[in-house]
């Protein structure tokens, strides 16, 4: 079993019982679980676990934070698929949330997952000082919010169908995708007590990995098939989204992704961090076909 599969298995087990209601809001919980309990890669949780485990923290201790990151990711996909946004019918080969539960419930399921992420991350965390826990919460909120992911989504929406520049693409990639991947590694780095320079190097690495991830995502939208992607390919082009391939082509985008990753690896090497499990996840990101 690969490291990613182990993380996925641990997380899926945890998530199964993470969102259970004894009240009347059954449909809401069904809608949240419909999108959360799917066959997602669980890359963000795995990055969080791998970062902490690199420094001797057990994966189990990290689970509430890992779940929080996946909940943020999951909510963003639900809202992103809504008719007023990307208007997508399929997600990982399954009907999107609003196709099953209707728009109002999908909107609320997204709001619920976003808020539940903060429920998870504010639960008692073994071995983590309250100071560091507040830092984790602050990091998640900053990276997921208007100065991070939501900000990237907003500029993506505004500039879709417009000319835009390579700088715009860089802003959108950095915020829409990289910030949450960066947060996954930053939050993982707050589980052990690390020197500031280690935390900073891991943050740089997380940003690089996040940028490379989105570049490869753009490439796959151009070259992938519907079977592999589990969603409709060519949607970026059809929707006139701002992407790297549109400006510099597929091959140059692939090269740029490799350069960006190289920069992140250098940051880790400079402070002497060597992690075979982060390395393994990085290979998954760089070599993925869906």
């Amino acid at each position: 079993m690969s490291y990613l599969e182990m993380c996925k298995s641990d997380l899926n087990e945890y998530l199964k019982s993470a969102l259970v209601t004894d009240g009347r809001a059954k449909t809401l919980y069904e809608a949240m679980n419909y999108s959360l309990l799917n066959d997602g890669k669980r890359l963000r949780p795995a990055l969080c676990m791998a970062t902490a485990e690199t420094f001797g923290v057990s994966r189990e201790a990290v689970l509430p934070a890992a779940a929080a990151l996946e909940m943020i990711h999951s909510y963003s996909l639900i809202h992103d698929d809504l008719p007023c946004m990307d208007d997508d019918d399929l997600r990982r080969g399954q009907p999107t949330n609003h196709k099953v539960f209707g728009e109002a419930m999908a909107l609320l399921a997204g709001d619920g997952l976003l808020t539940e992420a903060f429920v998870q991350l504010s639960r008692p965390l073994s071995g983590v000082s309250p100071e560091r826990q507040v830092s984790m919460l602050h990091t998640l909120a900053l990276r997921a919010g208007a100065s991070g992911m939501v900000g990237g989504q907003a500029v993506d929406v505004e500039l879709t169908g417009q000319d835009g520049t390579l700088d715009d693409v860089a802003f959108i990639h950095l915020h829409k995708t990289a910030r949450l991947i960066q947060a996954s590694i930053e939050i993982g780095a707050l589980f052990p007590e690390l020197p500031d320079e280690h935390v900073r190097a891991l943050s740089v690495y997380g940003e690089s990995l996040g940028l490379a991830f989105q570049m490869i995502d753009d490439v796959l939208d151009v070259v992938g098939s519907q079977d592999e992607l589990g969603k409709t390919p060519g949607k970026d082009v059809a929707a006139a989204k701002l992407t790297y391939p549109r400006f510099i082509g597929v091959e140059e985008t692939r090269k740029l992704a490799a350069q960006v990753i190289e920069r992140g690896e250098q940051a880790l090497l400079r402070v002497g961090i060597v992690s075979s499990i982060l390395q393994e996840l990085q290979s998954v990101v760089l070599e993925r076909t869906h």
Copy 2:
């Protein structure tokens, strides 16, 4: 100047510079500020400030938490007004967020405000231990999320147009409205170091005040005018919402609100909490006409 007006003035000053971007996401920040910087009553922030100030904490120290509560309230109104939800054109006499910025941007403005609430509440808070700050964050997330406000919204959406029962109305009121008002008082109670029984009594009081607030809101929807409300009256009836007046009439709902408040006051009296400023805010809730 009334206590509510003082709180409002302090908060509005704070909020003016709370959401500023130096990046490209200008429209998103405009949309967030459009809904946040309005002439709202600021009741939730005032309740939070009054609770803390009752025990000697300055209003200034409470501002980040007060801002967080108002941001949650503001996001919930933006999403509530969306076409797939209540489809409202007016809010406090002004065009609703999506009428000005479009649905996609309004959705993201709501997501941004919700997330920004947790940015605010995870900022350094003077005089608050990190343990208590984590408790505040946990309280806000639980009360605002699927087990609280979002859960209430979901059941409200599901049962609108259906027969429903008085129990359903009670569930919706408790979750959709009372939980966030309760959280305002609970979070205020975490600023000073209080005995557990004081915190519990304030929590009961907050729930009572929140329930009474929504009962009066239902009454005003029946008896209020558009000028007073700043929104379209009679919408609950037209939309076949589950409300107390629908089941027990306007006068009985008013009486019930008074009884509920009485229960909350008793809880405070039993532990010897006497607060003229909470009393003043309570009068505002009970006697409001809009």
